[in-house]
């Protein structure tokens, strides 16, 4: 059965200048979007245009370009807020450096003012270090009790003991989609249980926001963190969304210019959120680029992106099984509604670095390593995997080249 692909990849690919380059005399096959996506020329043009016509510092000058820059920056905030269904886009979107900084902000600002020795924080076994190490650091500093939702044999969260695990918890922090397994977690179900237990729900959306339609209310999140550079935007900017009343009660994270109402030699009064959490000159051009990326994704349609990426993911999993058989292991759930386009691969017993090295000769970009999820890798019983991840610009030919490369691995390592 042929399923209609709502995306014309040929048209999409023309928007991405990097896809025109060659690697080792072969067309580049970019399968590393879970690490960082490519940027369409619309995003690059928006940033150039900002620098060429409107650049000034924000929230400071009264001259025309300064006002223009401020409007672009605040406009980006509102646009990003609407993109994820924030009830109050103007006040609930904090720009950070990346998703990692956003999660550190929650752990430090909310965590330090709301958690005390012995309080329970629930995480999952599949967390990226970005949603693990900040909590471990806080646990080391104030003495938290950490619990983990386990994963089952197919790389899904095992929720059979959910109510008991979240019982008494102050925080439940989890990834909406695994950066190793591609598992799309049932955040609404977990958030409901967490809220019943009185916990605050922190969602790492670094992998989900770029690939799935997102609405913070239906997700059941109290905080949501994500990065621009994984959603066709630039590096250097990330987002923390937080419920307005939570942000309002939180102390600043970093101190400096832009985050105060008043300062004397004796003390300071912080500004209102979101500015309270944006010390120093923010990433203005990057915010402009992120807004352009949101326009781009919205223009293509998040529903279309989901449908297209699911087609390619299903094709990839089936083709890898059919053409490579037992030589190739794919970690994570089988194709389906909870299966995102992140494919962690093993080929025979060849190390992930060697796989990636051979694939590079075919122009194929995959990421070898532990993917900043060492506890999960230990659970899977591997030190590294080669991860091929799918974006809206990938098609079946990319997967075919991946498989051609993997076959050559067999030739080299015999």
């Amino acid at each position: 059965m042929t399923v209609h692909d709502p995306i014309d990849v040929e048209v999409i690919r023309k928007d991405f200048p990097l896809l025109t380059r060659t690697v080792h005399d072969r067309p580049i096959v970019y399968l590393d979007s879970a690490s960082s996506s490519l940027q369409p020329r619309q995003v690059l043009a928006a940033m150039d245009h900002y620098y060429e016509t409107t650049h000034a510092n924000v929230h400071r000058g009264v001259y025309a370009t300064a006002e223009g820059a401020t409007e672009l920056y605040e406009g980006a905030r509102r646009k990003v807020g609407r993109f994820i269904g924030a009830p109050d886009p103007k006040r609930e979107i904090v720009f950070t450096k990346n998703a990692t900084e956003a999660l550190n902000l929650v752990a430090n600002s909310w965590g330090r003012s709301n958690l005390a020795k012995g309080d329970v924080v629930v995480l999952t076994e599949m967390e990226h270090h970005a949603n693990l190490v900040p909590w471990l650091m806080l646990a080391e500093s104030i003495g938290l009790s950490l619990r983990y939702l386990p994963i089952d044999g197919q790389g899904r969260l095992d929720l059979s003991d959910l109510d008991r695990i979240v019982d008494g918890a102050k925080v439940v922090a989890l990834s909406a989609m695994s950066n190793v397994l591609g598992t799309i977690n049932p955040v609404p179900t977990i958030a409901e249980a967490a809220h019943r237990a009185g916990a605050v729900v922190v969602v790492d959306g670094a992998q989900s926001v770029p690939h799935l339609p997102t609405n913070v209310t239906t997700l059941g999140a109290d905080f949501l963190a994500f990065s621009a550079h994984k959603m066709e935007g630039p590096t250097g900017i990330g987002v923390l969304w937080g419920r307005a009343e939570l942000l309002a009660a939180m102390p600043p994270f970093l101190g400096g210019g832009g985050m105060i109402l008043d300062v004397s030699l004796e003390g300071f009064t912080p500004a209102e959120p979101p500015w309270r959490f944006e010390a120093g000159t923010p990433p203005i051009a990057e915010a402009v680029g992120l807004a352009a990326a949101v326009d781009y994704l919205t223009g293509v349609g998040m529903e279309h992106i989901v449908a297209h990426e699911r087609l390619i993911t299903t094709y990839a999993i089936e083709a890898l099984h059919e053409r490579l058989g037992p030589d190739c292991t794919i970690f994570g759930p089988p194709p389906g509604g909870d299966r995102g386009g992140v494919l962690s691969l093993a080929y025979r017993d060849v190390h992930a670095h060697d796989l990636a090295q051979v694939l590079d000769q075919f122009g194929v970009c995959v990421r070898p390593g532990h993917h900043c999820a060492k506890p999960l890798m230990r659970k899977l019983g591997v030190t590294a995997t080669a991860r091929a991840s799918i974006g809206l610009y990938n098609d079946e030919r990319d997967i075919d080249t991946l498989i051609e490369g993997l076959n050559h691995v067999g030739t080299v390592f015999g």
């Binding site: 051979v358 060492k374 390592f413």
Partner: protein, 164 residues
Amino acid sequence: MPGLEDLYREIILDHYRSPRNRGELPSPPAHRVEGFNPLCGDEVVVSLDVADGQLRDIKLAGSGCSISQSSGSLMSAAVKGKPIDEVRELIRVFKTMMSVHEASLGDDRTTGAEDSPAEPEPVDVSKLGELAALQGVVKFPVRIKCATLSWNALTQGLDELASA
């Protein structure tokens, strides 16, 4: 353009498939050092039996890619039973081949001017024997850390023993 054949030489694949001196020595009395490559998660455990200025025995454990594993295996075969002076010299020549200049090596006699590390000395590959097969790794800069993982652990182990 460097090709895969520059990297995956037959000797390298052989040492990867059949690593020499695999395992661990009882510690103590052997000295045990761990090396990590946080980038890729590769790890190596080097056990050293040093007495009377001689590296009497060496074993390697751990897991990693073909380059890190074969480099460790080749290293163990090259240094086992050698006087420490010779081992140090071999480390120096190997690291020079890898273009890695590390102050921690301590006995890098060739570096004249402190702030002009630009030109590495030409390496006398004949001193290296089978290890010369790893020369091609230099063309793949990301993999140099794989090749030097066990060498750094060995250096650390010798330094610890010397200062004990």
